[in-house]
C-alpha cells in the first residue's frame, strides 16, 4: 500500500500491480449554515486487493466520511476515485456497487426491522439482479452458515438477535454479492469485548477464504494492530501518517501518531503514560492554519502554524509517510 | 426579531395571494355567472345583448386577466358589489366579521379555560378515574359532529325546556345587553365544546411530559409545594406547545363558526359565506373567503410570535 501521491514515484517503491480502489486528492465539504465544514481534505490513498487498510483517528477526523466516499454514499467535493483503475461512470459505478459493500458500527440500525434475515442477506443480490430466486435462497443459506449462525436464523427477524449475531448477519449481507472490498465502519465498537474478538476472528477468516480487502475504520489501535496492514492516520480530515503496520506501531513518525499510541492501554503496563495531546480537537469549521495539528502538538515550531507540511517519507523509511515538518 | 416578523408577514402575504387566485378560480367554476342571473331576471335578452354584456363585464377574457383586474381593484379597497344584498361587499362584510369575532373569541376563551382546567387536572394522576372521565369527554368533543351538537342543544334548551333562545342575536323589541348575552350562550357553548376536546388532550399530554422533566422534579425535591410545582414550573413549559397548537387551530375554529352560525342563525361571516355561495353572490363569497383566510393567517402569525415570547431559547 502506497498513497497515490506524486511523491510516490520519487520514493522508488514497487507499486502494487493494480489497486482495487484509488483515491486521489479527495475533498469533502458540507454546507453548515453560512460556513462550510471541511470533513476531508486532499486525501490520496489506495487499497490493494486482499489487504486491510485501517483508517485511524478520533471522532470527527473524517474517517467515516472517507469510508462513505469509498462505499459510494458520499460524492466528493473534489478529487477522484478510481475503481480497478477506472474512473466511475455509469457502468463502473454499477460494478463498484457490487464489489464494494459496507458494514456499520451500530448492529441495531444496520438491519431493517421489517425484513426477515433471509431477505436482508439476499438484498444486494436482489438489487444487483444476481441469480434466480432459488439461487439466491441457496446462497443465502450458505452465507448464514459461513458467518457462524444456524440456518433457522433465516426465517427470523433482526430483533430476535443479539448485537454480535446481528453484526454477523450484516457481514453475511455484505458478503452476498461476492465483493472485493468491504468498508467496515467501526464494526466492533458497539459490541462487548468478548464478542469483539469473535467478530474480529470471523473477519480474518473470511479475508483469507475469499481474498477480501477491508477498509477498516476504527479508533481502537489494539484492534487495528491485530487486523490491519497498512494503517492511515487521519486528523481533522487530513492524512497525518500512512505506513505499514510494524513501522507505524514500532517507530511512529508523526507526533500525532505517537500521541495516539501513548494513549493506548496496554497489557503489562500499570498506568497510561502521560497523555501527550492536550486540549480539544479544533472545529473542522475553522481548522488551524499551517499544519492543522500545531495547536496541540508538543513539537510545534513557528513554521508549523504557517506552512502546511506535505506527506513525505520519513528519513530512512521509504514506505512510511508522514505529514510533518519535524518527523521522527 | 424585526427580520423574523417581516419574513413571516411576507410568507403570509404570499399565501394570501396564492389563495386569492385559487379561490377566484374556484368561484369561477361555480354554477352560472353574473350574466346568467341577469338573463334569468330579464328573459327578453337577445344573444347579442348577452354577448355585449359579457364583454362589458369582461367575462369573455381569460381567467388570469380577469383575476388581475379584480386584484388591482381589490388592492385599492374595491371588492365590488354584493348581488344579494345590493350593497358594496365591505358594507355587508364588516358587521358580519365583527359578529364572528365576538363568537369565536368568546368560545375560544371558554374552551381555553375549560381545556386548561381539565387538562391539568387529568395530568396530575394519569390513568386515574378523573383522567379517564376527562379523556372520554375529550374524545367525545373531538368526535361529535358540530351541527348535530347544535341540534341537540336547540332541542334540549330551546324546544324542550324553553330556557334559551335558539336563533338570532337578540329578541325583537328587547335587544338589551342581557338579551344579547342570552342569545350568545348556546352558540358559544356549542362552538367551545367542539374545540375543547382537542385542546384538553394537548394540555394533558404536554403537562404529563413536563411533569416528568428534570427541572420539575428538582423543584419537587427542593420542597416546593405541589400547587406551585404544577402551576409555576410545569404549566409554563407546557404552555409553549399548547399555545402554538391552539393558535394554529383558528382555521378549524372558523369552520366550526360557520356551522354554528348557520345553525343558530347568527349573522356572522360563516353564515354570510354560506348564504353567498348558495345564492351565487360571487363577490361576497370571494371576499368573505379571503377575509377568513386572512384572519387565520394573522392568528398563525400571532402563534409564531407567542412561541418566541414563551420560549426564550428561540432567538427571534
Amino acid at each position: 500500500m502506497i498513497p497515490a501521491m506524486p511523491t510516490t514515484a520519487a520514493t522508488g517503491t514497487v507499486r502494487a500491480p493494480r489497486p482495487l480502489v484509488a483515491l486521489d486528492g479527495i475533498r469533502v465539504r458540507f454546507p453548515a449554515g453560512r460556513r462550510t465544514l471541511t470533513a476531508v481534505e486532499n486525501v490520496s490513498l489506495h487499497v490493494d486487493p486482499g489487504e486491510t487498510l485501517a483508517l485511524v483517528g478520533e471522532s470527527g477526523s473524517g474517517k467515516s466520511t472517507l469510508g462513505n466516499v469509498v462505499a459510494g454514499l458520499q460524492q466528493p467535493t473534489a478529487g477522484t476515485m478510481r475503481f480497478r483503475g477506472q474512473l466511475l461512470d455509469k457502468a463502473t459505478t454499477r460494478a463498484a456497487q457490487r464489489a464494494i459493500q459496507i458494514i456499520f458500527q451500530d448492529p441495531f440500525g444496520a438491519l431493517d426491522p421489517r425484513m426477515p434475515v433471509s431477505a436482508i442477506i439476499a438484498e444486494p443480490l436482489l438489487i444487483q439482479r444476481i441469480g434466480t430466486a432459488a439461487e439466491r435462497a441457496s446462497r443465502t443459506a450458505d452465507l448464514i452458515e459461513r458467518v457462524g449462525l444456524p440456518r433457522d436464523a433465516l426465517n427470523r427477524y433482526p430483533h430476535e438477535f443479539s448485537g454480535g449475531q446481528r453484526q454477523r448477519i450484516a457481514i453475511a449481507r455484505a458478503l452476498a454479492p461476492d465483493p472485493a472490498l468491504i468498508v467496515a465502519d467501526e464494526p466492533l465498537s458497539a459490541l462487548d469485548v468478548s464478542i469483539q474478538s469473535q467478530i474480529l476472528n470471523l473477519l480474518g477468516e473470511l479475508q483469507r477464504a475469499h481474498g477480501l480487502a477491508y477498509l477498516f475504520i476504527s479508533h481502537d489501535l489494539a484492534v487495528v494492530y491485530h487486523l490491519a496492514d497498512p494503517v492511515a492516520v487521519l486528523y481533522l480530515g487530513r492524512l497525518m501518517e500512512v505506513a505499514p503496520r510494524e513501522g507505524l506501531f514500532a517507530t511512529p513518525s508523526h507526533p500525532y501518531t505517537t500521541a495516539l499510541l501513548e494513549a493506548m492501554p496496554r497489557i503489562g503496563r500499570r498506568h497510561r503514560r502521560a497523555v501527550a495531546i492536550h486540549g480539544e480537537m479544533p472545529s473542522p469549521l475553522d481548522p488551524p492554519s499551517g499544519c492543522v495539528f500545531h495547536t496541540r502538538c508538543p513539537k510545534a515550531q513557528p513554521l508549523c502554524s504557517v506552512e502546511p507540511p506535505r506527506l513525505e517519507p520519513a528519513p530512512g523509511r521509504p514506505t512510511q509517510l508522514a505529514a510533518c515538518h519535524f518527523k521522527a | 426579531m424585526c427580520r423574523f416578523i417581516l419574513a413571516r408577514c411576507g410568507q403570509a402575504a404570499i399565501v394570501l395571494l396564492v389563495m386569492s387566485f385559487v379561490i377566484y378560480s374556484l368561484i369561477g367554476l361555480m354554477p352560472g355567472d353574473p350574466i346568467d342571473l341577469m338573463i334569468a331576471s330579464n328573459p327578453g335578452a337577445t344573444p347579442e345583448v348577452v354577448a355585449h354584456l359579457r364583454a362589458i363585464y369582461g367575462l369573455d377574457q381569460p381567467i388570469l386577466l380577469r383575476y388581475l383586474h379584480w386584484l388591482a381593484a381589490a388592492l385599492q379597497g374595491d371588492f365590488g358589489f354584493s348581488r344579494t344584498h345590493a350593497q358594496p361587499v365591505m358594507v355587508v362584510l364588516l358587521p358580519a366579521l365583527l359578529q364572528t369575532c365576538k363568537l369565536m373569541l368568546s368560545s375560544f376563551i371558554v374552551s381555553i379555560v375549560l381545556a386548561f382546567t381539565l387538562g391539568v387536572y387529568a395530568s396530575l394522576r394519569p390513568g386515574g378515574v378523573a383522567d379517564s372521565i376527562i379523556s372520554l369527554f375529550a374524545f367525545a368533543g373531538i368526535s361529535v359532529p358540530v351541527f348535530w351538537l347544535a341540534l341537540v342543544m336547540i332541542l334540549l334548551f330551546a324546544v324542550n325546556w324553553h330556557v334559551l333562545p335558539a336563533s338570532g342575536i337578540s329578541t325583537v323589541g328587547d335587544g338589551g345587553f342581557g338579551d344579547q348575552i342570552r342569545h350568545l350562550i348556546l352558540p358559544v357553548t356549542t362552538l367551545a365544546l367542539a374545540s375543547t376536546g382537542q385542546f384538553t388532550r394537548f394540555v394533558r399530554a404536554a403537562m404529563i411530559e413536563t411533569l416528568r422533566m428534570d427541572h420539575v422534579r428538582t423543584a419537587r425535591a427542593k420542597g416546593a409545594g405541589e400547587g406551585r410545582v404544577v402551576l409555576i414550573h410545569a404549566l409554563r413549559n407546557a404552555m409553549i406547545p399548547v399555545v402554538t397548537v391552539m393558535a394554529l387551530s383558528f382555521g378549524s375554529l372558523f369552520s366550526g363558526a360557520l356551522i354554528t352560525e348557520t345553525m343558530f342563525a347568527q349573522p356572522g361571516m360563516g353564515k354570510m359565506i354560506f348564504d353567498a355561495i348558495q345564492g351565487n353572490d360571487f363577490n361576497l363569497a370571494l371576499t368573505g373567503l379571503l377575509f377568513a383566510t386572512l384572519v387565520t393567517l394573522l392568528s398563525n402569525l400571532l402563534a409564531d410570535l407567542a412561541y418566541g415570547w414563551l420560549d426564550p431559547r428561540i432567538a427571534l
Binding site: G109, L111, F161 | F139, L155, A205, T210, V245, A292, T296
Partner: protein
C-alpha cells in the same frame, strides 16, 4: 408542532426491541403479535373494535331488513310522513314517508364508504408527497412543506363548500354525469381527500427523513439500490406503523367532513341517503320529529368516537413508551 403528544414518527419502530435483544435468541414472536397483545389490553380500543364491527353489521343489513319489512327506502309516501314507530317501520318514517331504519342503514353504507375511500385517496396523496419530500429533500421539500403548512392553517370548511358547489360541467364533464348520483358521491370523496392529506404528508416526511439516514437504508444505497427500490422496500414498510394510527384518525375526521357537507347540501344529495343529508331539514325535525334529528347524528358520533378510540388503542399498541 405536535406539542407534547407522542409523535408516532419520533419513535423508532424497533426501539422496544433493544430490551429483548440481550437474551441470546429470544423466542420467535413477530412484532405484530406483540402489538396485538398490547392492543388487546387496551379496553377502549378493544371496545371500539366491537362497536365498529356491530356498526358494519348494522349498515350491511340494509338489504335484508328492507326485504323483511317489505319497504322501499327510496319511495316517497307523503301520506305517511313522520309516522311514529310501528311494526312496519320500527323507527318510524321520515319527512317523505320513507322507512327511517332502513335509510339509516343505507346512509351508513354511504357515510362509511366515503370515509374509507376519501381517507385512502388522501393518504395516498399524503404518502406520496411525504415520501418524495422527505427522501429527496432540498427545494422540493421546502416547496411541498410550505404548501402543506398553508393547507393546515386554512379554514377548510368554506373551501370544501366552494369545492362542493363547483359546476362539474365547467370542468368538461357531461351534464348527464355531473348531475348523477355517482358524481355526487365521487365529488365528496375527491374533495375531502384533497383537503385532508396534509397531516399524513407531514408525518410521512418526518419518518422518511429519519429513515433516510438509517444504516440499513445506507447499505442498500451502497449496494446500488435506487430510490424507487429503497422507498418500497425500506421506507414504506417502516413508515406503515405510525401511519396506521394517523390514517385511522383521518377516517374519523373525514366522516365528520362528509356529514357536515351533506348536511349543508353540498355533499351527498338526496335521494341517496347519508347520515349527513338525513339531517338536511333538521331545523324542521327538531319541532316535528325530534327523534329523527337524533338518530343520524348519534350514529355519526358513535362511529367517529369508536374510530378515534381505535386509533388511540393502535397508538398504544405501536408505541411501547406510551403510558396509560
Amino acid at each position: 408542532m405536535s406539542g407534547g403528544t407522542a409523535d408516532p414518527a419520533a419513535t423508532p419502530p424497533e426501539a422496544h426491541d433493544r430490551r429483548i435483544v440481550t437474551a441470546a435468541i429470544a423466542p420467535a414472536v413477530s412484532p405484530w403479535k406483540l402489538r396485538w397483545r398490547r392492543f388487546r389490553r387496551h379496553r377502549t380500543g378493544m371496545g371500539s373494535l366491537v362497536v365498529l364491527g356491530l356498526l358494519l353489521v348494522f349498515v350491511a343489513s340494509a338489504g335484508p331488513v328492507a326485504h323483511f319489512l317489505g319497504v322501499d327506502p327510496y319511495e316517497t309516501d307523503l301520506l305517511s310522513q313522520y309516522s311514529p314507530p310501528s311494526a312496519a317501520h320500527p323507527l318510524g318514517t321520515d319527512d317523505a314517508g320513507r322507512d327511517e331504519l332502513v335509510r339509516l342503514m343505507l346512509g351508513g353504507q354511504i357515510s362509511l364508504l366515503v370515509g374509507v375511500l376519501s381517507t385512502l385517496v388522501g393518504s395516498l396523496i399524503g404518502l406520496t408527497v411525504g415520501v418524495v419530500s422527505g427522501y429527496f429533500g432540498k427545494r422540493l421539500d421546502a416547496v411541498l412543506m410550505r404548501f402543506t403548512d398553508g393547507m393546515i392553517a386554512l379554514p377548510l370548511l368554506p373551501l370544501l363548500i366552494v369545492l362542493g358547489a363547483i359546476d362539474l360541467t365547467k370542468l368538461g364533464f357531461s351534464a348527464e354525469f355531473a348531475h348523477s348520483g355517482a358524481a355526487g358521491f365521487w365529488r365528496v370523496v375527491v374533495i375531502v381527500a384533497l383537503v385532508d392529506w396534509t397531516g399524513i404528508a407531514r408525518l410521512t416526511r418526518a419518518a422518511t427523513l429519519a429513515l433516510r439516514e438509517r444504516d440499513y437504508v445506507r447499505s442498500a444505497r451502497a449496494s446500488g439500490g435506487r430510490p424507487a427500490y429503497i422507498m418500497t422496500a425500506h421506507v414504506l414498510p417502516n413508515v406503515a406503523t405510525p401511519l396506521i394510527v394517523a390514517v385511522t384518525l383521518t377516517i374519523g375526521r373525514v366522516i365528520l367532513f362528509e356529514s357536515v357537507l351533506s348536511f349543508l347540501g353540498f355533499g351527498i344529495v338526496a335521494p341517496t341517503p347519508s347520515w349527513g343529508n338525513m339531517l338536511n331539514n333538521a331545523q324542521e325535525l327538531v319541532t316535528t320529529a325530534p327523534a329523527l334529528a337524533i338518530y343520524p347524528g348519534l350514529l355519526i358520533f358513535i362511529t367517529v368516537i369508536a374510530v378515534n378510540f381505535l386509533g388511540d388503542g393502535l397508538q398504544h399498541a405501536f408505541d411501547p413508551r406510551s403510558e396509560r
